[in-house]
């Protein structure tokens, strides 16, 4: 088999790209995409550790599935929020949504 570290490096890279996206994209939807990336990177991590650890222990797989569900729910809610904000403020640029500023 391929060494575990390749999967971890892949997941880290994906996570970093996702993080970078979250931190630097202007568009709110793009931020959500970045979050999706980060979540998927976590999934890869989880699956890798499951496969290369105790195969019999279901916890890894279960955890990954939970992450899927959460990601999906979170995207749904997130997009709903973005659409709501767009309807009010006519913009999706994260930086312009700063009413909570001091």
């Amino acid at each position: 088999m391929v060494p575990l570290s390749w999967y971890l490096i892949l997941a880290a890279a994906l996570f970093s790209i996702g993080l970078f996206g979250v931190l630097s994209r202007r568009n709110a939807v793009a931020i959500l995409l970045g979050i999706e990336l980060m979540l998927n990177a976590v999934n890869i991590n989880l699956a890798a550790f499951w496969r290369y650890g105790n195969v019999l222990h279901m916890a890894g797989q279960v955890f990954a599935i939970i992450v899927f569900a959460v990601a999906a729910a979170e995207v749904a809610v997130g997009l709903a929020l973005v659409i709501s904000v767009y309807r009010k403020r006519n913009t999706v640029i994260a930086d312009d949504i700063d009413l909570m500023k001091w």
């Binding site: 931190l23 630097s24 931020i31 994260a94 700063d98 009413l99 909570m100 001091w102």
Partner: protein, 731 residues
């Protein structure tokens, strides 16, 4: 009843009269004077009975009537007070009772009882006469005294004080009577209190005698603490007297100032105490230098003057010294007696010189009293016990007579003043009188007898016998200076007395008022006559046994009787012609020259003796005012009150208030406000500042928040990693 009980009761009627008059019968004149005169009569009666019984006792000096009881508890013992009638007090009681009664009766007439009330009369001022309609036209008559009852109340209290003094067996109750008389003299001299001169005179009298009283009190305290008693008979035990007479009074002082040793050591305890007590007499009997109150005391009504200055108060002063004579005598150094003799003799001549320049009929008598008291004091100073007592008694009679007589004269003159209506004429000025012998015969003859007695007219007057005895004692015991001084004083006495009689009664009336003078009612003249009798007769009980011709005829009863008071009966003096001759010479000479000089003098301008120095009493009043009175005011008002109390003490106190204020403000400003308050304020400010400055973090931009979260997460992770790696040693 027993004599002792009677003696206790003698002082009571006058004081009861006082209370009854003050509380109840004030408005009723008749009732008031009845109470007063009745009380005086009862006391007189009691006194006479006691006196007669005293005469019957053999050696009364050794077995006097005495009775005492416990009065003040003092630790484990009691201080006792009581009454004592020994020969001295019996003799004094006699004249006190008579003179007091005479004065009481006289006062009824003096205050014009029975006369109408004056329309202008005001309480507090002498009565000014009333207008009546008689015989068809308006007529001014003397009016009754508005404060009539008050007068009798006060003289009642006065009599009480004197009786207490005479009858007491100890110094304390003597002092009680003494002070009560002082109070009454204040009240009576200031009787007409609306007159400023009367008020001032009253205060002056009280304060001057109080100076003496204060020293006397010290003497009493000293005597009491040394001997443990104030009872006369207990003090005069020979061993005690000898001890006191020999012990030095101020041993520590004498040691401390060796330069003054001879002077300080010349005072034995007995002598020092006697001198302190004597100062009381100097005040009360108006001796130099405390004589200034007596002439001013003439402001009081004349019976008061008679009472105070003849019969009772000043005599009380001499009585006190006579009483304490054994103490004076016990002094081995004789310093105290010398002091007493000096003051007496000096006063005698001093006052006599002033008397010759006085124009007011009462003032002459006032200075005369001072002078005669000087005679008595001088007599005591040279040890002439019986002579002093003799002169005390005769003086009381003839001086009272003279004062009451002068009152009668003044009354007669006031009659004339009312008649003419000219109220500016001074009814007491002798130069306004003259020729009154025809208008007021009874007054004239009795006054003449009194005046002659005062001058010492030979043989028939009592004054001769008593004064002669003093001069004889002075001469016989070798006290030359005293003898000469007293002789000169006696000459002056006769001189001014004759001056007074000449100006008042002889010659022709000098004013219209004198022309219209009238004799006074019986209530005033009868006492004069009775007193005149005593002024003559009393002398005959003291004729010295050595006297030519008369010597053996009448026993010297007084010498026997009064001499028995002392532990050692004084010797009778051998007869000597020189003092008798001197006495005759000064008396007759003085009288003659007085008459000669003044029979043609009609006004003060013609009187060559009106020297300002004499007229103004050697300016003693002014000296005392500058020396004592004004400084006292200043000390009280300025020093004590303004400077000390308000200035010094209160200023210190007032420092506390502002000081506390300052401390309080300081604490408030620097601790309360600055530290506590500002600290509280500071904490909120700091918080606010932090918040204000930190809020910049809240940009509202999500990516920024995420960035921060990431950064902090990494920091915390690193910290935890390192913590667990290096500190917790988890592999």
């Amino acid at each position: 009843m027993t004599t002792e009980t009677l003696i206790w009761l003698i002082p009571l009627p006058p004081v009861l009269a006082f209370f009854l008059i003050v509380l109840f019968t004030n408005k009723n004149k008749a009732l008031s004077h009845t109470l007063a005169v009745g009380a005086a009569f009862l006391s007189w009666l009691g006194s006479m009975i006691v006196f007669v019984r005293a005469l019957g006792v053999e050696h009364l000096g050794e077995h006097p009537f005495e009775s005492s009881l416990n009065w003040l508890p003092t630790g484990d013992t009691w201080f006792r007070i009581g009454v004592l009638v020994d020969p001295l007090s019996a003799a004094v009681l006699f004249f006190v009772a008579w003179t007091v009664l005479m004065i009481f009766i006289y006062s009824v007439g003096y205050h014009n009882y029975g006369q109408p009330e004056g329309d202008q009369d005001v309480k507090g001022l002498p009565p000014r006469g009333a207008i009546v309609n008689a015989h068809g036209h308006k007529h001014a008559v003397p009016s009754v005294e508005p404060m009539y009852s008050r007068f009798f109340a006060f003289i009642g209290l006065f009599a009480f004080g004197m009786y207490v003094l005479v009858l007491s067996d100890n110094l304390l109750t003597l002092f009680v009577g003494w002070e009560i008389m002082g109070l009454c003299s204040y009240l009576l001299i200031g009787f007409w209190y609306a007159k400023k001169s009367a008020r001032d005179a009253a205060v002056k009298a009280f304060m001057t005698t109080r100076v003496g009283d204060v020293f006397m009190l010290l003497g009493i305290a000293w005597l009491y603490s040394y001997t443990g008693t104030l009872n006369f008979r207990e003090i005069f035990q020979p061993e005690l007297l000898e001890r006191m007479g020999n012990a030095m009074a101020f041993p520590e002082l004498a040691m401390r100032w060796p330069a003054l040793f001879p002077f300080i050591s010349s005072f034995s305890i007995a002598g020092a105490i006697a001198l302190l007590l004597f100062v009381g007499t100097v005040g009360k009997s108006a001796q130099f230098p405390l004589h200034v109150w007596l002439p001013d005391a003439m402001e009081g009504p004349t019976p008061v003057s008679a009472m105070i200055h003849a019969a009772t108060m000043v005599s009380a002063g001499v009585y006190a010294v006579v009483r304490m004579f054994p103490l004076l005598e016990a002094d081995v150094t004789g310093t105290s007696m010398a002091v007493v003799a000096f003051i007496g003799a000096f006063t005698a001549i001093f006052a006599a010189t002033i008397a010759v320049a006085q124009n007011d009929i009462k003032r002459v008598l006032a200075y005369s009293t001072i002078s005669q008291l000087g005679f008595m004091i001088a007599a005591l100073g040279i040890g002439a016990y019986v002579a002093a007592v003799f002169h005390l008694i005769t003086h009381a009679f003839f001086k009272a007579l003279l004062f009451l007589g002068s009152g009668s004269v003044i009354h007669g003159m006031e009659h004339g003043v009312l008649h003419t209506g000219n109220h500016h004429v001074d009814a007491q000025d002798m130069f306004n009188m003259g020729g009154l012998r025809r208008k007021m015969p009874i007054t004239f003859w009795t006054f003449l007898i009194g005046g002659f007695a005062l001058s010492g007219f030979p043989l028939i007057t009592a004054g001769f016998w008593s004064k002669d005895e003093i001069l004889a004692e002075a001469f016989g015991h070798g006290h030359w200076w005293v003898f000469i001084t007293l002789a000169v004083a006696a000459f002056l006495t006769a001189f001014y007395t004759m001056r007074q009689i000449t100006l008042t009664f002889l010659g022709e009336p000098r004013t219209k008022e004198a022309e219209h003078a009238q004799e006074t009612p019986w209530t005033m003249t009868v006492p004069l006559v009775i007193l005149a009798f005593f002024a003559v007769a009393y002398g005959w009980i003291g004729v010295p046994t050595g006297f030519p011709v008369l010597g053996g005829l009448l026993p010297n009863w007084l010498h026997e009787f009064v001499g028995g008071t002392l532990a050692e009966h004084p010797e009778a003096l051998a007869f000597n012609w020189i003092p008798l001759g001197t006495s005759l010479f000064v008396a007759l000479g003085g009288l003659y020259f007085g008459w000669l000089t003044y029979r043609n003098v009609n006004s003060p301008a013609e009187d060559r003796l009106q020297i300002p120095l004499l007229k103004n009493k050697y300016y003693f009043d002014e000296i005392y005012d500058r020396l004592f009175v004004k400084p006292a005011y200043w000390f009280a008002e300025t020093f004590v009150y303004k400077w000390m109390d308000q200035g010094l003490i209160d200023s210190i106190l007032h420092l506390f208030g502002p000081l506390t204020d300052k401390i309080g403000s300081f604490i408030r400003k620097y601790i309360d406000l600055l530290i506590l308050n500002d600290a509280g304020d500071g904490s909120y400010k700091a918080t606010w500042w932090f918040g204000r400055n930190l809020r910049g973090v809240q940009t509202g931009r999500i990516q920024q928040y995420l960035m921060f979260a990431l950064a902090i997460f990494m920091l915390v992770g690193a910290a935890l990693y390192f913590y667990f790696r290096y500190f917790r040693l988890v592999a």
